[in-house]
Amino acid sequence: MAQQQAAIISQQVNLPWSKAVEIAVKSLKKRLMRSTITMVSVILAIAFLMSIWLGNDVIDGLRELDRPDIDLLLLRNGVDLTQTGMSSKMVWLVSLSLVVCSVGIVNAMLMSVTERFREIGTMKCLGAMDRFIVRLFLVEAGIQGACGTLVGIVVGLAVGLVGSLITYGAPAVESLAWLDVAGSAGLAFVIGVGLSTVFAIYPAYVAASMQPVDAMRVEE
């Protein structure tokens, strides 16, 4: 018996990533409406974050120009010339938007799990191990998060640039350190995908820990 069980363990395999991605993309397409709504919350949060960061980069660039007329313009717009980085009020607002977005992700993923009890149960009957199910949901959340974040970064950049141009004119773009902007965008991407995936762990765990028998009993 012990030998048999050892043989079982040695034969366990993992669900290939390519397969997980394929299934996840198909599931997202199937529920395009809801995945879009979840993505919108990510888009908004990341766009907000990105536009704030871009605004800071613009101000940093303008300040380094050291032109009196621009400094005056900055002062008129309420910029504290001695302060660097985000004000605590801004940090608070950005954090709040990210928290709201995260709650939305947990909610949407839990709904997705509930909707798919039968599918999860079937997969378990077919021999899917718990970690297959977890991987499937995390990959799905990750893809959803990545799409939302990318769009959010683009939207945030666009809004931030247009806003800066209107307020400060051409110098805003001319003096911009694009490397800093790229760094901000990269960080925003990590935050967006990270939050989307981390907050899907609990729903994925709920899905994976379901008994196949219970999952199959759920009426559609």
Binding site: I9, I23, K29, T122, C125, L126, G127, D130
Partner: protein
């Protein structure tokens, strides 16, 4: 079926009990079930709802473990298996066919059949060629890339049969496989399942109320109140339209054929 073949036991249940807790109350779903299923046979399980037949069925499939008693599938003692090992057993040793077909609706027929093969560790090409073979055998060679929503109920159940047989399991479990199909389609599915089980030598355990299923069964087992009430071979039972005449309590094998003669 050869007598020697019948002797090999694929599922052995010995005094199996299953108790569920619902709040403070205890529900005895199985109350001492002892049953041997032989390799290659076609066994029907009958019973009213709440009789414990689903619990027994789930246990034979490794979906549930007994509270007390011993249950062996292909020599593996269920009580000694962990979650991952049960998953392995379900993947490699058991095939499932459901009333609702339960195909993954975002995957094509071919992908549905290859999924359990992927779980079993087969490479992509290997799984695809084997799945194509099985799907062609069940008559869907032309519809490999159709989604379940583009297939009729009968075709979906064929995909499910192909999926159940894909990993060449020793035992196939069918839960009311004709429950969602019209009479003719249901009959075709039953015949297909019977043909395949004979061809491959797979054991089939079916829960059903479908009389057509009786015709192809080797044995029928009745379960009531968590106990096996009676097990009878197909030739001991007389079937008429409208019901089964061999009843519990009249289980003496000599009695049933006599009864059959009187009614035909």
């Amino acid at each position: 079926m050869a007598a020697a073949q019948k002797q090999e036991v694929i599922v052995r249940a010995v005094d199996v009990h299953k108790v569920y807790r619902m709040g403070v109350e205890e529900v005895r779903a199985l109350d001492g079930v002892t049953l041997d299923v032989y390799r290659g046979e076609y066994l029907c399980i009958m019973g009213p709802s709440g009789s414990g037949k689903s619990t027994l069925f789930n246990m034979i499939g490794g979906l549930d473990t007994p509270t007390r008693g011993k249950l062996e599938i292909e020599g593996y003692d269920l009580s000694g298996l962990g979650k991952a090992q049960l998953a392995w057993l379900r993947c490699n040793k058991v095939g499932y066919i459901f009333q609702q077909f339960n195909l993954i609706d975002v995957l094509t027929a071919l992908e549905n059949v290859t999924l359990p093969m992927t779980f079993a560790g087969l490479s992509g090409e290997e799984a695809e060629s084997r799945a194509t073979e099985v799907l062609t055998r069940v008559g869907l060679g032309e519809r490999l890339h159709h989604l379940p929503s583009e297939l009729s109920g009968g075709q979906q159940q064929r995909v499910a049969i192909a999926r159940a047989l894909g990993n060449q399991p020793g035992i196939v479990l069918a839960d009311e496989p004709t429950g969602n199909l019209d009479l003719i389609t249901g009959e075709r599915i039953i015949n297909l399942l019977k043909e395949l089980s004979v061809e491959i030598g797979t054991t089939v355990v079916a829960v059903t109320h479908d009389m057509k299923m009786f015709d192809v069964s080797d044995r029928v087992s009745w379960i009531r109140d968590g106990r096996i009430e009676r097990v009878a071979r197909r030739d001991e039972i007389d079937i008429q339209v409208g019901g089964v005449r061999g009843r519990a309590g009249q289980g003496a094998p000599s009695q049933a054929p006599q009864e059959g003669e009187a009614q035909t």
